[in-house]
């Protein structure tokens, strides 16, 4: 992939960033991976941004899209606030550690190592995104004592099924472990880590698919705020880059969720995931100093 890190007027640059971000938000929305997994590699590959600035921009993107889409999920009570806030006790320290590691690696001139690791993580989340169960209502599992004590349960009305659904969380300890790992990945690379969060919510806590997706989206904002706080205070969030990217990605994600709801399925994921695979390989090659 050719590097287009050219020198253009700022106004033109901002317009280009918005257009690229709209496409990234659309693809990220259709694949369910979020805009960051597309926009961060593109900032590095197309515009020649340094990896910490690209990661800092990724956090801003997550914050914007999570607040935009998360608000609707909270309003509709699909996000389980209690479960989300309980799990943030694991994702937030993970994100702080991840973001701090990125800053130290940058200071140690190991940006290439971050690039290679980012590419590997992007490749790793592709099978993860295909591994979702696609089971609307999971079979019942025994709830653990912690889930019972904290009341990690709820109910919602499923419009598609036209019925009220109740659920109760199970296996909270392994879920906390996976969430900590998701926080580290999110904090280190400026991506939402939603794939890992949804997997933990579905497979360990045994939540219904809609609740898992909505609660993951609700949590992503707080996880990103932890990483963004570190990167912003450390000087790695450039608003002239981040603002147009955040606006474009949020708009692209909105387009993806509103205009093309019927396309968000496994087939479309299979169609777009190769794009992310190409970006991941390009990022790895760049990390190794290859053209």
């Amino acid at each position: 992939m050719a590097r287009l890190s050219f020198r253009v007027d700022l106004a033109v640059f901002v317009v280009l960033l918005i257009l690229v971000a709209i496409a990234a938000g659309l693809v990220g929305s259709l694949t369910g991976l979020g805009g960051g997994v597309v926009v961060i590699p593109l900032l590095v590959i197309l515009f020649g941004a340094s990896i910490p600035i690209a990661i800092g921009t990724g956090f801003v993107t997550i914050l914007a899209t999570s607040s935009a889409t998360g608000a609707a999920y909270v309003r509709d009570r699909l996000s389980d606030l209690r479960i989300g806030m309980f799990l943030e006790i694991a994702t937030v320290p993970g994100a702080l550690i991840g973001a701090t590691a990125t800053v130290f690696l940058t200071h140690a001139n190991l940006e290439d190592a971050i690039l290679i690791a980012l590419g590997v993580v992007l490749l790793a989340i592709i099978p993860g995104s295909l591994a979702r169960r696609n089971i609307e209502l999971p079979p019942p599992l025994p709830s653990d004592a912690r889930a019972q004590r904290l009341g990690l349960a709820g109910e919602y009305h499923d419009n598609a099924l036209d019925q009220d659904v109740s659920y109760q969380a199970a296996r909270t300890s392994p879920a906390l472990g996976v969430m900590f790992g998701a926080g580290v990945v999110s904090g280190m690379f400026g991506i939402g880590g939603g794939v890992f969060k949804v997997l933990a919510l579905e497979r360990f806590l045994n939540l219904p698919m809609k609740v898992a997706t909505a609660t993951s989206n609700f949590m992503i904002g707080v996880t990103a705020a932890a990483g963004a706080g570190v990167m912003l205070a450390a000087g790695y969030v450039n608003p002239v880059v981040a603002a147009p990217v955040a606006v474009g990605t949020a708009f692209g994600a909105y387009l993806g969720s509103r205009l093309l709801p019927g396309l968000q399925n496994r087939t479309v994921r299979l169609l777009f995931l190769p794009v992310i695979a190409v970006l991941a390989i390009e990022v790895i090659l760049r990390g190794f100093g290859l053209p």
Partner: protein
């Protein structure tokens, strides 16, 4: 009512569910925070382009223009003097602070409900978020 992920053990919902206004308040927090931050960012970005007519993609990517405004005194004096870069910083701070306010409102509702464990969890999350922004970030800069 269908049951998914429900327990073989009897569900012990001795804790009260969050009140409906908690959901409404958090929806409002997320929307208002996002709207305010994007409005500040877009307006100040437009002003930045006007104020820096010679700026290019290269100059923007090579130096972060807000480095002088990442402390409370720097940000305060920048805003007072009308510096565009300070307003860009403010937009980012509002965006980052939005989830923090959401956690704070969760803390409030759990405390009101007398849920000590969930209150402690949300308070710990809030402290960690502030620690990252106010301590870790400036330390590793």
């Amino acid at each position: 009512m269908n049951s998914a992920g429900s327990a073989e053990l009897p569900p012990s919902r001795s804790v009260k569910p969050l009140p409906p206004e908690a959901y409404a308040r958090m929806t409002l927090v997320l929307r208002a925070g996002l709207g305010l931050s994007l409005a500040i960012l877009i307006a100040s970005l437009a002003a930045y382009i006007v104020v820096h007519p010679g700026a290019t993609s290269e100059s923007v990517l090579s130096a972060n223009p807000i480095l002088g405004y990442l402390s409370f005194p720097g940000l305060g004096s920048g805003l007072a003097s009308g510096a565009v870069e300070a307003f860009l910083t403010l937009g980012l701070v509002v965006l980052v602070a939005t989830p923090l306010v959401r956690v704070l409102s969760g803390f409030y509702y759990f405390r009101q409900g007398g849920e000590r464990t969930m209150t402690a969890i949300t308070l710990a999350v809030l402290v960690m978020l502030l620690f990252g922004l106010l301590v870790i970030g400036p330390l590793v800069r």
